[in-house]
């Protein structure tokens, strides 16, 4: 394994891989630093640029975006009090007060170095666990895969913050998208409504791009129009220079906090579609609980910044594990990466590592190398990145949408995918307005084909439906799905009761 990893590092250190990794990390940091531009949107913008590259170049660029974006959010979170990405929200709690207390450089670099170490700890898990989990997944038959995908979908639907019912409907809508087109056994056309283009089914990338890009851009447009800039400028006098050795010591001298925050990040990353924001909030909360001075949290203490940033970068490693071992995207960013793999004819899942060792270990290497590159870029350009936030949205939004069009068009050089992008853009915006979460929908679109294929395979192998329950792993996974829905029901009911009680007290 270590020889393969070393080979991967040497491979990625070649200029032709290092350049896209560098460019991707830079794009990720800038995208992450811009409030209102998420990592998902950044990776959607970068996606079409990877079409002409070889698979490892493309994946290196995307891995760079993911790592850079996860760290980039802290720049504006610390210096402006505006989290560049949702995963940097918890960083704002202590990062911005520390900056306001006259230590912007210390706050910023605590975050950067915590991201670096947290990310590397996530990388250890990524390298160590992916192969192991993939070997376990190789033992799976179609019953187990079907149950695993159902578990992923039910967890995502249940873990969304809005109603459980809407989460489940959203996931089901995603599955409906995948039943359009030819059936996997006989190739019969289904639900095409007489539209020839739909006979081949709907590509999931234009769906994903349309849903996420429009949902975000149109929500911004309805709120602020386009006249506003992304954020105000930073005070020009702020000093960002620090003693790096001192800051690094501040981070590594809290090994329990660093390790625990990273474990939380990895764990949340492994669970599908929960994302870095939940990871950093949870790590922040945990850090507060284990701290000897919890009352100081929120006033600008290093523990708060370290917990949040270590966790959200370790989360990236966890997300990559599920995509590489099981073919299940951990979040929207890895969903786009899954799409990029598909474009290059590579199937992610348990066979990914054994069939594409150069690519898999190249990706691990890209992930590990993206961290020092991120530190370097932050060191050179943190101040400049805050200035980028003055870009007017009116200029940025149409360019992002043009790149979405290019991304959809370039999939197979047809306008039909652009029309799919538009249709799903409208649907994505409507879903947001009606309070339907997007994550289960996207997971449904991605997993739908596999769910059907494995269901059909299992029934064609043995028509006994009880096998889904009596096979131990499959049964366990289905039981976990039921438990996750029940847990979500309990949690939603508890929340509703708490809200009702609070309203009752207020009324009284």
């Amino acid at each position: 394994m270590y020889e393969l990893l070393a080979g991967g590092v040497v491979n990625v250190l070649q200029f032709k891989y290092l350049l896209p990794l560098f460019a991707g990390t830079l794009a990720g940091i800038v995208g992450g630093a811009l409030p209102g531009v998420t990592i998902t949107m950044t990776i959607i913008v970068v996606l079409p640029f990877t079409f002409g590259l070889d698979p490892l170049q493309g994946l290196a660029a995307m891995t760079g975006v993911y790592v850079g974006g996860s760290a980039g959010g802290l720049v504006t979170a610390v210096l402006l009090g505006l989290p560049g990405t949702p995963s940097a929200i918890a960083t704002t709690f202590d990062g911005h007060p520390m900056a306001k207390n006259g230590e912007p450089g210390r706050a910023l670099w605590l975050g950067i170095w915590a991201s670096f170490f947290g990310g590397l700890l996530g990388g250890l898990f990524l390298v160590g666990a992916t192969g192991l989990l993939a070997r376990i997944a190789l033992q799976f038959g179609p019953w187990e895969f079907f149950s695993l995908f159902i578990l992923a979908l039910s967890m995502v639907a249940g873990l969304v913050e809005s109603s459980l019912l809407k989460g489940l409907i959203s996931g089901a809508l995603g599955l409906i998208v995948t039943i359009i087109g030819a059936d996997p056994v006989l190739g019969h056309e289904r639900l095409t409504l007489g539209i020839p283009f739909l006979a081949g089914g709907v590509d999931f990338l234009p769906v994903l791009i349309g849903v996420f890009a429009f949902a975000q851009i149109m929500t911004e447009v309805e709120r602020h129009g386009g006249a506003a800039t992304l954020a105000a400028t930073m005070e020009r006098s702020a000093k960002l220079a620090v003693s790096h050795l001192r800051v690094i010591w501040e981070v590594v001298s809290r090994p329990v906090l660093l390790l625990w925050a990273s474990i939380v990040g990895v764990f949340i990353g492994v669970l599908p579609a929960i994302g870095g924001s939940a990871a950093s909030m949870m790590a922040y909360d945990q850090a507060k609980k284990i701290s000897r001075r919890p009352e100081k949290f929120g006033s600008g203490i290093p523990e708060g910044i370290i917990a949040s940033e270590a966790s959200n970068n370790a989360n990236v490693g966890g997300s990559l594990v599920t995509i590489m071992a099981f073919g299940i995207p951990g979040d929207a960013v890895t969903a786009v990466m899954l799409g990029a793999l598909t474009i290059h004819g590579i199937q992610s899942g348990p066979l990914f590592i054994s069939q594409n060792p150069t690519l898999a270990y190249g990706m691990f290497a890209a992930y590990l190398l993206a961290h020092p590159i991120m530190v370097l870029l932050m060191g050179v350009g943190a101040r400049w990145m805050v200035r980028v936030t003055t870009v007017p949205k009116a200029a940025l939004f149409p360019i992002v949408l043009v790149l979405c069009v290019v991304g959809a068009y370039a999939l197979n050089n047809t306008m039909q995918n652009v029309y799919v992008l538009l249709v799903f853009g409208v649907l994505g915006y409507a879903m947001v307005k009606f309070g339907f979460p997007l994550a289960p929908f996207i997971l449904g679109v991605i997993l739908g084909d596999q769910i059907e294929l494995n269901l059909v395979r299992s029934i064609m192998t043995d028509a006994n439906p009880w096998l889904f329950i009596t096979r131990p792993i499959s049964g366990g996974l289905l039981l976990a799905s039921v438990l996750s829905v029940l847990f979500a029901l309990w949690q939603h009911r508890r929340q509703r009761r708490a809200v009702a009680a609070a309203e009752g007290e207020a009324d009284f």
């Binding site: 409907i169 089901a172 039943i179 059936d183 309805e222 006249a227 949205k393 149409p398 069009v405 269901l455």
Partner: protein, 154 residues
């Protein structure tokens, strides 16, 4: 009375029932144990049940008057979708370069109306430069052939 969730549930219910009805026309094949309509019927049936539950829960749930919030600018959103639709429609006829230049400059001007010649010049330059960069990056370096216009041959 139905509210937002109820109406959304009704739309999903109607759509899933319509598609479910279409699956009844899919014929099974005696050679395989399950036909092409088997899985779609499960998914659509499940969706219909969930949508019906959403309608019912909205119908029976107590509703409170929502607190007044900032009114979203839906007119601008509709306009943005319309302009984007126009852009998608125009791409095969005008070609990538002309349509994109017009779209970027037009959207920029709609989102932040320029006042004065300098602002108009800036809008035009943003459109021109971004179109040129995207075109050259994709056509010349990434080898993605972007749409040519049927009317303009450009």
């Amino acid at each position: 009375m139905l509210h937002r969730d109820g109406w959304a549930g009704l739309v999903v219910l109607a759509t899933s029932l319509f598609l479910f009805a279409l699956t009844l026309g899919l014929k099974d094949n005696p050679m395989v144990p399950i036909g092409p309509g088997f899985y779609p019927r499960i998914v659509l049936g499940l969706t219909a049940v969930l949508a019906a539950m959403l309608v019912l829960s909205d119908w029976f749930a107590p509703h409170r008057r929502a607190a007044a919030k900032e009114t979203p600018n839906y007119g601008m959103v509709a306009l943005m979708f319309a302009v984007f639709g126009l852009y998608c429609g125009a791409l095969p006829y005008l070609g990538f370069r002309i349509a994109t230049l017009a779209y970027v400059a037009g959207t920029n001007a709609l989102l932040a109306p320029p006042s004065g010649a300098r602002a108009w010049l800036r809008v035009a330059l943003v459109g021109l430069i971004s179109t040129a960069i995207v075109y050259y990056a994709f056509e010349h370096y990434l080898l993605v052939l972007l749409p040519r216009g049927r009317w303009t041959d450009f």
